[in-house]
Symmetry: C2
Subunit: 243 residues, 2 copies
């Protein structure tokens, strides 16, 4: 029987688990997370050195602790390993990976534009952004693999282009969701179709961790600008209605 290649997964939170679930048919997944209890159906619990020593290493840690994680794994990576991050922002992580990881590893940035909620009926047709960081061929191969093996819709973009678009897509969605969730309980009886769509969108990010919100709003260099524009349009609408 053909032996599956080893894949080290650093971080086994909600997204790490989703990753293991979809990659375990193709890889022998070795996960490292201090909060992980024991082996499960999709991943074997291992120590940091073993996870970081795999030929493919996926970083599924919050963006806020990425630099610290990179420093810890840097000396443990195998020569020629492929390191892939999955963070919601791409400019800062790409820069940090280039700066902190040894020259002998290849690096690809990805942002799967989905989470456990939107992926509950499978990955086919969902979207992922793939960014070249170190190695053009590696980015192309990662993109092709995601398209072929996971049936994802792949966008090959620069970290800058990604963050510019995500500042609007995620920055506004999470901001609006945050405010609407604070207004709960919200009406559920006399609702309109448009309000229900809005609330379905809110529900999809309801259980996202505070770290995700922080990364999206604070670690994306374009988020503050988008937010300012959004707030100033709100202020204008408010002024028009109060007058």
């Amino acid at each position: 029987m053909h032996k599956k290649p080893r894949l080290g997964l650093i971080g086994y939170g909600a997204f790490g688990k989703l990753t293991a679930q979809h990659l375990s048919p193709h890889f022998d997944v070795r996960a490292y997370d201090p909060a992980m209890d024991a082996d499960d159906a999709h991943a074997a619990k291992v120590d940091l050195a073993e996870a970081a020593g795999c030929p493919v290493v996926i970083l599924a840690v919050p963006v806020g602790i990425l630099e610290q994680t990179l420093t810890e794994i840097a000396p443990k990576l195998s020569a020629g390993a492929l390191v892939i991050d999955v963070g919601s922002v791409k400019v800062k992580p790409a820069e940090a990976m280039l700066r902190l990881l040894p020259d002998h590893v290849r690096i690809v940035g990805t942002h799967p534009l989905f989470g456990p909620q939107s992926a509950k009926d499978g990955l086919a047709g969902l979207r992922i952004a793939v960014c070249e960081v170190r190695g053009a061929k590696d980015a192309r191969r990662t993109a092709a693999w995601c398209r072929k093996m996971l049936a994802l819709k792949v966008f090959n973009v620069t970290p800058e282009d990604h963050d510019r678009e995500a500042a609007t897509v995620q920055g506004l969605t999470h901001l609006i969701a945050r405010v609407l969730l604070k207004m709960e309980p919200l009406p559920t009886r006399m609702t309109t179709a448009s309000f229900e769509r809005l609330m379905q969108g809110v529900d999809m990010v309801r259980h996202d961790s505070p770290a995700v919100y922080q990364a999206i709003e604070r670690d994306n260099p374009f988020a503050a600008g988008v937010r300012e524009r959004f707030f100033s349009l709100f202020d204008k609408a408010r002024g028009e209605l109060d007058s």
Copy 2:
């Protein structure tokens, strides 16, 4: 052949047309609107006196010109006629109808919680609020008719309860939509499922007239309060992110 009862429709804009389309199988619809060109498949174009003289009269005019319309039709209404409004708010129109219409007519307030966009695949399962204004039996019969003949989901509520809930459902939806539409062009490639739901909600109200926005935001006595709470939560989120 059984002759269909006459129904006078005052106002033949987007919602008036939708009304005629769904009521013409049951009624001989006579529509009055200065902007109406000629008879169409669902309604005959008539003058104000003829429309107002029908045994059932539906007012599908913007809330902003309702009082003026009531004053004009008051002397033309038939004894015992049933007058129904379809505005997005209910407290002010109910009060105006009671004040301006003759004692001999029966009055029911309704708010169909849908529009041409959300009704494009039919009415079944869509929602309508029905408010007693003058005549408890008439409100009950109108509700039962909507349920049985149009398969609508009916909510029997007071005008106050309606407006309190609509201040959130419609007030927030239209406010958020207004701001997001001003930010166009918005990303369409690297989108998340939650952002797409949000934008589907926005798209459903994209073509609503400015009069609808004004009615929802200004003519609902609870809208300003909901908005203030929403804005202050936004200011708080903004402050947290800027700090």
